[in-house]
């Protein structure tokens, strides 16, 4: 088995990874987090509530645009890996969200999901709702990529 050079490994990474798409994703998470935090403040004026509700929208639009650009830049092998990963992760994500919705229906909003890293449930429990699908996609992408490419 031949070892790939460091330069090739970096070239592979540069082809797969696009900083702006990655940043856009985290900006969306940040916007949702801040908006969620603000909307929980008691006594928030209706106008301010509306503004905080709308703030994540431009971020989502930007992230979608960056993802489209990123997708177009990928070669067909990586598009295939992405498509196969999505085939697996979307049903899992929908299943996960349906399960959360079921919990919410059974126990009312907000669902007291234990917060990550030992944080209290009322503070950051919903972060898991966002992070689990993200984590699912990342893990599936790595597994599908390894299976298709032999990780070389």
């Amino acid at each position: 088995m031949t070892r790939i050079s460091r330069a090739d490994a970096w070239a592979d990474l540069r082809r797969m990874f696009r900083l702006r798409s990655w940043l856009a994703g985290w900006v969306v998470v940040l916007c949702f987090g801040v908006a969620w935090w603000q909307l929980r403040q008691p006594g928030l004026a209706p106008e301010a509530r509306l503004i905080w509700l709308l703030i994540p929208l431009p971020a989502v639009a930007w992230a979608v645009r960056e993802q489209i650009v990123h997708h177009r830049q990928l070669d067909e092998f990586h598009r295939t890996v992405n498509a196969r990963a999505a085939e697996i992760t979307w049903p899992l994500t929908i299943g996960w969200l349906a399960f959360v919705a079921l919990l919410a229906t059974a126990f009312g909003f907000p669902v007291t999901i234990p917060g990550p890293f030992g944080l209290p449930p009322d503070e950051l429990g919903w972060m898991e709702v966002l992070f689990v699908p993200l984590l699912l996609h990342m893990v599936t992408f790595v597994l599908v990529h390894k299976r298709l490419s032999g990780q070389r």
Partner: protein
């Protein structure tokens, strides 16, 4: 589908990275094609054949 991509590439003394550059794809694509884990699309298969100066059926064979 089987292919002769690795054989043809090595005959020219090219690395996977060099062939990937010629075809404007990632080196991982070349590795995946050579190892038979990934079947390229028809346009890419034609580009690969053209790159080696051969007909598509001389590079890709039904497995």
């Amino acid at each position: 589908m089987t292919n002769r991509v690795q054989e043809l590439r090595l005959a020219r003394g090219w690395t996977q990275a060099r062939l990937a550059e010629e075809l404007d794809v990632s080196r991982q694509t070349i590795y995946a094609i050579e190892s038979g884990r990934f079947d390229p699309s028809l346009p890419l298969a034609f580009r690969i054949a053209r790159c080696f100066g051969l007909a598509i059926e001389e590079v890709f064979m039904p497995g």
